[in-house]
């Protein structure tokens, strides 16, 4: 099959599947005559073409083992003029901290999470479960048989990650003190937003 044809079929599938996206494996079932490598190669090129094409409002976003056709970030502004796009409310700070702990330490119990955060985390866990970002992955041994949590494929999708290796290693964050302080400043700026003269 000609590369042009392969590309056009993949593009068609990307359009049809929209926000659900399509897995390399599924593309392969539609195009059994291609190897996964050819498919990945074709999508990678298409991705670069979209990106380089100033007059295109589309791009290809990754998720684990698959791809999704989306609008480029700058389109968001115009899409919002078009319709009130439900702004998926970003996760709360509590939920972000909780899911970060789970991503690095899974499988992990609520108690272990609360020990690290120093506060109750039940609500944050509940939100994350409902959003499908985490799930019960087992039970701890011992008398309590506490629920252990792990992240789900939705986690990767939600944060636009391929796999956990794309997260900065925790140890590295440790090593570079200066960087850490910069990151901390980011948080401080957020605090300032809530500042009110008492």
């Amino acid at each position: 099959m000609k590369p042009e044809k392969i590309r056009s079929i993949i593009e068609g599938l990307l359009y049809l599947t929209g926000e659900e996206g399509v897995l390399i494996e599924q593309i392969n079932k539609v195009l059994p005559e291609c190897t996964p490598q050819e498919i990945i190669h074709s999508v990678t090129r298409m991705k670069q073409e979209y990106e380089a094409n100033e007059s295109s409002g589309l791009m290809i976003a990754d998720f684990p083992n698959g791809y999704r056709l989306t609008t480029k970030p700058f389109i968001a502004k115009y899409a919002e003029r078009f319709a009130v796009i439900p702004k998926a409310a970003p996760l709360s700070q509590a939920a972000l901290e909780t899911v970060a702990i789970i991503a690095y330490k899974q499988p992990v119990s609520r108690i272990a999470i609360e020990e690290i955060r120093g506060v109750k985390s039940e609500r944050a866990l509940q939100t994350l479960v409902v959003k499908g970002l985490i799930k019960e992955v087992g039970r701890a041994e011992g008398s309590g048989r506490a629920i252990l949590y792990g992240i789900t494929p939705v986690f990767f999708d939600y944060f636009g990650l391929h796999d956990l290796s794309e997260l900065p290693p925790l140890s590295e964050i440790m090593r570079d003190q200066n960087e850490q302080i910069d990151a901390y400043d980011l948080f401080y700026d957020q605090y300032k937003e809530t500042i009110k003269d008492l």
Binding site: Y15, P73, A83, L96, A100, I116, R117, I181, A183, L198
Partner: protein, 262 residues
Amino acid sequence: MEYKVKIDAFEGPLDLLLHLIKKFEIDIYDIPVAEITDQYLDFIHHMQKLELNIASEYLLMAATLIAMKSRMLLPRPELSTGEENDTYEDPEQAREALMQQLIDYRKFKDAAATLKNNEQARLQLFAKPASDLTAYEHNDLKNMPLSGRATVGDMVRAFQRLLLRVKLEKPLNTKIDRQILPIGQQMTSVMQKLKTADHALSFKNICPYPDRTHLIVTFLALLELMKMNAIVCLQKDNFDDILINLGEGADHFEAGENSFNY
């Protein structure tokens, strides 16, 4: 000392401690227990004076800090040889533990910041809902494998996506509903279509847009055009498609974009 930050801004006592450490440029690897305790208590007292509810976690941390501070002021008891004193808690160890806890927490807080950036970027990307491919599916019971079937979770998520989508479309329709019905504009558009086609068109051809407002506006536009003799409508039999063609008055047709607004 001024307190301009509300306790709500903190995720808990560890977060508050990290804030104080940063604010007073304290070395996290060598925390002066007395100083941090005073600052922490000072903060908590201010919050209490303002009758703000302080979660129990904050008070627990206050108690821990006070205990640590007082123990550091006391001389270390002499251990009688051969006998470990189990009840004695080494304040140095407690300080180490707190330091480790703060460092660990800060790591995850930083990781959360990274995730937040990712989230922000991801929330900027929009995609259309998946196309309905049921037309291509073979409606075959055998096609419904028992393994890997949809879960209640899948159904609930699908339902939530539906609710979001409904929300996405609702305001859009509302916007169209609210605008003044541009019948004049629709009349012009119908005339243009008929002139371009140069033959009779069905109502479906003239208004295939499956939107109720649109159908109504187009229908009203047709009625106006009929009144002006700009078009004629033909129907061979009952329930046959109505065909619309240019009428005698077509050449005199002129509708301002804003006329016939209801």
